[in-house]
């Protein structure tokens, strides 16, 4: 019986559950044929280029097994880069190389890899080990983004990334994901990164969780999260909002990375964004989603949508959220 009460409470908190997300949002607002635009990071990159949305630069790609043998020449002169499977997800198969030490490639965690290790990793990617359906994949080598100085100490050995859920073009919820020792330089929550819920109205920290447990300070650096504030908040939200026009996906998870010089860059898009963002923020998505759904006339341009999100949706925080739920 206790769990019945629990289910009721989830409902009161406006938590979006997996089944509801799949049927009412992903199923209804994301056309299947559009998935490929975001499931393949290369296609996302092309698309973003056409729409003038900034992303980390692509250095080169690798499609054939036989080229893996000669990859040494290409990597010779490079010390900082990121290897990714084009169709990967959840941080799987991503290798962030932060420097060289003679023969060795040094991961951001400090672990050293030989050229052979890298080659094996690449051939695994090509064979489809990390791709969604186990189908053969392409390796992409991307420039490594450097940590924005304002986040010094918040992220351990990795770049924080920002997850914003965009529903029908309206940013509805945001969180900052901070890499930890556990998450190995990647900021994917289920790998142990810290999720910091952000106030949609201001970009300030609401609260933080790691593996669903709340915490106040970074587990590795000890820095308190309370005074986190994401710079250029409005600009960043506009960037995420424009991804709606770019892809046509109604329910979208956008990953933003903050570059020292260039500011917010789009890292990747997700047609099935996870639900943990609600734990990081401390309240549910449903009231905001329903609110946007109930809008008679949607705003046509990204700036207006962001303005609406900042003023109306951003005000629906915490307890307030349930009161305003239709």
């Amino acid at each position: 019986m206790r769990w019945l009460v629990g289910l009721k409470q989830l409902q009161e908190l406006g938590i979006l559950g997996m089944n509801c997300r799949n049927i009412d949002f992903i199923g209804r607002y994301n056309r299947r044929s559009l998935y490929q635009l975001v499931d393949d990071k290369l296609r996302t990159k092309e698309l973003a280029k056409r729409h003038g949305i900034p992303m980390p630069r692509l250095l080169f790609t690798l499609k054939e097994q036989h080229r893996v043998k000669h990859i040494g020449n290409l990597l010779e002169s490079m010390s900082e880069f990121v290897i990714k499977p084009c169709k990967g997800s959840g941080g799987k198969g991503i290798l962030v190389i932060g420097g060289r030490e003679g023969e060795f490639f040094v991961k951001s965690s400090g672990a050293k890899l030989t050229l052979q290790d890298i080659q094996r990793h690449m051939s695994n990617i090509l064979a489809g080990l990390h791709s969604l359906a186990g189908t053969p994949d392409t390796v992409m080598i991307e420039e490594r983004i450097e940590l924005d100085g304002r986040f010094e100490g918040y992220s351990y050995q990795g770049i924080p990334d920002l997850r914003v859920i965009v529903f029908q073009g309206y940013p509805v919820m945001a969180m900052l994901r901070l890499a930890t020792r556990d998450s190995d330089g990647k900021a994917n929550l289920h790998q142990g990164a810290v999720g910091v819920g952000l106030d949609l109205a201001t970009g300030q920290c609401l609260n933080a969780v790691q593996r669903t447990l709340p915490l106040q300070r970074h587990p590795d650096t000890g820095k308190a999260f309370t005074d986190i504030e994401v710079p250029n908040w409005r600009e960043l939200l506009v960037l995420t909002s424009r991804c709606y026009e770019m892809t046509g996906l109604g329910y979208l998870g956008t990953d933003i990375i903050l570059d020292r010089q260039r500011g917010p860059l789009l890292l990747e898009l997700n047609a099935r964004p996870g639900l943990s963002i609600q734990v990081a923020c401390g309240f549910g998505l449903l009231p905001r989603l329903r609110r946007v759904e109930s809008l008679r006339k949607k705003h046509a341009c990204a700036e207006d949508r962001v303005a609406y999100a900042l003023s109306v949706l951003g005000a629906m925080n915490g307890k307030h959220a349930t009161e305003m739920a239709p």
Binding site: W3, G6, L7, Q9, L10, Q11, L13, I15, G17, M18, N19, C20, I23, D24, Q65, K92, G93, Q116, Q119, R120, S123, N124, A127, G128, L129, H130, H190, Q191, N207, V209, T212, L213, P214, L275, S276, Q278, V279, G282, F283, G284
Partner: protein, 505 residues
């Protein structure tokens, strides 16, 4: 909204069709809802003995025709050297044995298997023929008249008169009249004679009282009177009306029960025995040709039946997977892999199956650890794992055999490719997300597999899914309904527990 409605209609239709067809099958074909139900079958054997005199012999025996309350399941005659055929003369069946030459004592058998069925209306035989005049000698006529007068005075209708007459004749010390009449004629023919004399159309039918293990029985008589509208049956000894449930009507009407030509000293004796048959076999054994039976898997040869049994139980496994994933939120590696594991458990049974599965996967994971150093391409690696798994299975089979467990062999039922993939995925999972995730997903898969196995092995479910294939329509409806469930999974209680006001910070 309309598509919603359509969906609900379809679901409701599927459920109704499932239940309706199942019910039809149950009521029309008598397939029970519970497994292991057996129905009694009576084996009755007529044994005819006679002494042949070295000339052509013809033996003709009246056979039961549609005995009320029973359905003839099989019949056969055993009689070496004799030709046998069943002659059907306007619904009156007679078995006829014939031989050109026979001499000395001879024995013929006729065997009949009948299944009790609900008794329909026993109003056969049509209206009575003209009553033939009855002749008594003088003292008999007097006694009969007095007896009938007495019975008549104490009754109001043909049937009550019959009862009274039976009572009078069966008294412990029958009166002078009764004793006189019974001295001349046996009870049943006497009753018929008396009643016919009183202008109540009466005839005698002969039948077998079915009693398990009885031998050397004779057919016992029942008196049938016509009350103006129906034939009604009375037991000539007790006066109880109606055909007893264990009364197998064998011989009606005027013709003789047994006719033997070309031989002498003929006798007939009956033996009977109660047997039982799985109730599910009945409709097919009896030769039901209705469309329902046509659509039943039992009409197939046994080998195909066994394969179908497997197929028809599969949807239940799918149901378990869907339930565990959507409603409970168990994570498993590979969506339907648990069903395949469960299927192999069906072959191996859980006890050697589960531990050996875990052992094989664990051993494979260990070896896979070395493989990852070899820098192999994925396809080659999986192929290698397949072969490693085959060796593990071979080894454990041999070991099991040498140690004297014949269970060792059963591991060969595991789908090798599935195991290889499981090992590969688990090992990647380990590298990517750590041992905890391996335990969670591996445990989840096994949990789902075991639940699916338990359900697919439950005799009730095995029985229902096979004998009522339409039950899978209900399964489909349930799966469709769950596919539309937008509520929370049970596991989300845990996932979002940090958010609960009382439990959270």
């Amino acid at each position: 909204m309309t598509s919603r409605k359509l969906f609900h209609c379809i679901v409701a239709l599927l459920i109704l069709a499932g239940i309706g067809l199942g019910w039809l099958r149950h009521s029309r074909m008598g397939i029970p809802f519970l497994p292991g139900t057996h129905r009694p079958v009576w084996l009755a054997e007529a044994r005819i003995d006679f002494i042949a005199q070295g000339e052509p012999v013809t033996v003709s025996l009246d056979l039961p025709d549609n005995p009320p309350g029973f359905s003839i399941f099989s019949e056969q005659a055993a009689s070496p050297g004799y030709g046998f055929s069943i002659l059907d003369n306007k619904g009156l069946r007679r078995g006829e044995w014939s031989i050109r030459y026979a001499s000395g004592p001879q024995t013929l058998y006729y065997k009949l298997q009948v299944i009790p069925i609900p008794r329909g209306k026993t109003d056969e035989g049509g209206p009575p023929a003209e009553i033939e005049p009855i002749y008594w000698n003088a003292p008999e006529a007097l006694a009969a008249g007095q007896l009938l007068e007495k019975a008549y005075a104490m009754s109001s209708s043909p049937e009550s008169m019959t009862r009274e007459l039976i009572k009078l004749l069966n008294k412990p010390e029958p009166g002078q009249n009764a004793a006189l009449l019974l001295g001349e004629t046996p009870l049943a023919p006497l009753l018929a004679k008396l009643l016919n004399y009183a202008r109540i159309p009466t005839r005698i039918v002969l039948g077998l009282r079915l009693e398990d293990g009885r031998r050397n029985q004779q057919l016992s008589p029942l008196i049938e009177i016509h009350d103006g509208r129906h034939w009604r049956q009375f037991d000539p000894l007790t006066g109880v009306e109606g055909v007893p449930d264990d009364f197998l009507l064998w011989h009606q009407d005027g013709q003789s029960l047994l006719e033997v030509r070309g031989a002498s000293h003929s006798t007939i004796r009956f033996a009977m025995m109660r047997q039982s048959i799985a109730a599910t076999q009945l409709p097919y054994a009896v030769g039901d040709r209705s469309p329902l039976a046509f659509l039943g898997p039992q009409s197939l040869p046994v080998e195909e039946q066994n394969m179908l049994r497997m197929l028809l139980i599969l949807p239940l496994g799918a149901l378990v997977v869907v339930f565990m994933r959507i409603m409970v939120g168990v994570r498993s590696s590979g969506t339907f892999m648990p069903i395949l594991i469960a299927l192999s458990f069906l072959q191996t049974t859980l006890l050697p199956g589960l531990p050996s599965f875990v052992a094989i996967v664990a051993l494979g994971l260990l070896l896979r650890g070395y493989l990852s150093r070899l820098n192999l391409l994925l396809v080659a690696r999986i192929a290698t794992i397949v072969i490693i798994v085959i060796f593990i299975i071979l080894f454990s089979s041999l070991l099991g055999y040498q140690l004297g467990f014949n269970t060792g062999m059963t591991v060969a039922f595991f789908p090798i490719i599935i195991i290889a993939w499981t090992i590969e995925r688990m090992s990647i999972l380990w590298e990517d997300e750590g041992s905890r995730e391996v335990l969670v997903q591996g445990g989840g898969s096994l949990l789902v597999a075991v639940l699916a196995y338990l359900l697919m092995r439950w005799p009730l479910m095995v029985h229902l899914s096979f004998h009522f294939p339409e039950i899978n329509l209900i399964t489909v409806a349930l799966i469709l309904m769950m596919g539309n469930y937008t509520g929370y999974k049970l596991s989300e209680l845990r996932r979002f527990r940090a958010l609960f006001p009382r439990l959270g910070p």
